[in-house]
């Protein structure tokens, strides 16, 4: 069970949250070509390592949060609100 420290609600069990996927993908500008939209909707880095991702605190503050979490150890490096600028784990760049 993950324990996620929500900036609004404090430490809560994973069961209160809903995972909402990769936070590194950015919606392309409206005039971008189809390939850019295919990449945005479908293609993922799916790293075995640090992952920047969205979680929704469904049974808490009902806010979207962003996390840097490791997909092998499940260590949570940082949690922030949707608009925060998080410091990525060492060696990682935020796209």
């Amino acid at each position: 069970m993950l324990r996620i420290t929500c900036p609004h609600c404090g430490v809560r069990d994973e069961v209160e949250f809903r995972y909402r996927g990769d936070a590194s993908v950015q919606r392309p500008p409206a005039d971008a070509d189809a390939a850019a939209f295919v990449a945005y909707v479908y293609e993922r880095d799916n790293p075995r390592g640090w992952h920047h991702e969205w979680w929704y605190h469904a049974a808490g503050c009902r806010q979207y949060l962003q996390l840097w979490r490791h997909t092998v150890t499940h260590t949570i490096h940082a949690v922030g609100t949707a608009t925060d600028t998080l410091t990525p784990p060492h060696g990682m760049v935020d796209r």
Partner: protein
């Protein structure tokens, strides 16, 4: 370990004596001889410099692809490279259910073909895979669900698959332990695919390994692929922990690790890796002789031949490469199990484990060329790739041998995402954690 390790036989190809045909007569003869005559079922090989085809991953799909290449497509210059021992990935971790109860007609046809291959597999491989067509039963709990299942049953019949409807009385007669009125989700009825069932998972890996090895395939264990080498837009081989191995074609069959391997060639796939858990209880007397699936949640259960109840539920629903499993899903699975079969509440769970799987963005697998010449994949199996092993191996071998998709897997090309031709099996859109 009193027996000293045997030297690998690769450089002495004739030193390996085939295991011979298995039969009741042979069993009798070996029994009389004190079981001294059994030989190793497959040959442990050392890597050669190059092969016509290198298959990455010694799970069900990698071994089956190698088997069919060598035995049905005449390509025997093949290696299967596996980072650990063969058969310890998802092929040895799954709940062993086979069926063709899919939603999209393309997928029904593919999985029903697989079911037909399972039906003849033991004769084909001369190996007892314990294919048990005990029937797979799905409960439904709302009118909408019933209508959806009727539609699915009709699609299945159109594709030549079998499906029958069971009313409450028939269901109770079939499964006396079931609770039809568990308060919150009363059971309205069920559908059953009588040809569905279970298979002994380890035997599938061993049987295909034996058949591939005897046809000349090198199975190389403890050999992790760490890079894909390319020249002039073509893959030329794999970098491994045991050196470079050249290859004309490289086939990725690495289950939950497809993104990781394709990433070595700079290719991003429409896949997220998620974990699925399984559980087995202490052994009990015969209790359940079909595979039972709970329509009001996500729970499925069967009884193994040893007597243990084998069951599982939904995926962990966040990206992970950890083969562990999260606790709240375990609690959810237990709660659903007890709602359906209240007597389970008295059982103790002996073991729990997880496997990591490629969850594709549309829930349909990917057997396809990748955007690098000579590189193909047999993956994206989501939580349902065990039942697909015979057909997946056969059609991937077809793709490698003929350079084009087998008609049953034309819809599994990775180009479907860019072409707007996704085959959205779960009907949830590109959100793998919700599948």
């Amino acid at each position: 370990m009193s027996v000293p390790p045997r030297p690998a036989d690769a450089r002495r190809p004739h030193a390996f004596r085939a295991s011979g045909r298995y039969s009741a007569l042979r069993l009798l003869r070996e029994a009389l001889g004190g079981h001294q005559g059994w030989r190793r079922a497959w040959r442990k090989a050392e890597p050669r410099k190059e092969y016509q085809v290198v298959i990455v991953g010694g799970g069900g799909h990698g071994l089956a692809t190698a088997y069919y290449l060598a035995n049905h497509f005449g390509i025997t210059d093949v290696a299967v490279v596996e980072k650990g021992p063969i058969g310890l990935g998802n092929v040895g971790r799954n709940t062993t259910i086979i069926r063709s109860t899919y939603y999209r007609p393309e997928n029904i046809r593919f999985y029903d073909h697989s079911l037909r291959l399972w039906e003849g597999l033991e004769q084909e491989l001369n190996f007892n895979a314990m294919v048990s067509q005990r029937g797979v039963v799905y409960t439904y709990h709302t009118d909408g669900q019933r209508d959806h299942m009727i539609r699915r049953a009709n699609d299945m019949r159109l594709a030549g698959a079998d499906c029958v409807e069971l009313d409450r009385a028939a269901l109770k007669a079939l499964i006396p332990a079931i609770s039809l009125d568990s308060g919150r989700f009363p059971v309205l009825g069920a559908f059953m695919q009588p040809r569905g069932g279970t298979v002994r998972h380890d035997a599938v890996a061993w049987g295909y390994a034996r058949g591939a090895s005897e046809a000349g395939v090198d199975i190389i264990e403890h050999c992790e692929v760490t890079g894909l080498r390319q020249a002039n837009g073509r893959v030329t081989g794999v970098e491994t922990t045991r050196g470079f191995i050249g290859a004309g074609t490289v086939c990725l069959a690495v289950a939950g690790h497809s993104s990781h391997l394709a990433g070595m060639a700079g290719i991003r796939l429409p896949i997220e890796t998620h974990a699925l858990q399984a559980f087995v209880s202490e052994a009990i007397k015969p209790f359940l002789d079909v595979v039972l699936m709970f329509g009001a949640g996500h729970f499925y259960i069967s009884q193994s031949d040893k007597g243990g109840m084998v069951f599982g539920g939904a995926i962990d629903a966040h990206n992970t490469y950890a083969q562990r499993g999260t606790q709240w899903i375990a609690q959810e699975v237990a709660a659903e199990g007890v709602a359906l079969l209240p007597a389970l509440a008295r059982l103790r769970i002996l073991r729990q484990w997880a496997g990591v799987m490629d969850m594709t963005m549309d829930g349909t697998p990917i057997i396809s060329k990748l955007p690098l010449d000579g590189l193909v994949m047999n993956g994206g199996w989501c939580y349902g790739g065990f039942k697909a092993i015979p057909a997946g191996g056969y059609t991937a071998a077809h793709l490698i041998a003929h350079g084009e998709a087998h008609p049953l897997t034309a819809h599994m090309d990775v180009g479907r995402f860019a072409a707007g031709l996704t085959v959205d099996e779960p009907g949830t859109g590109p959100f793998p954690w919700a599948h």
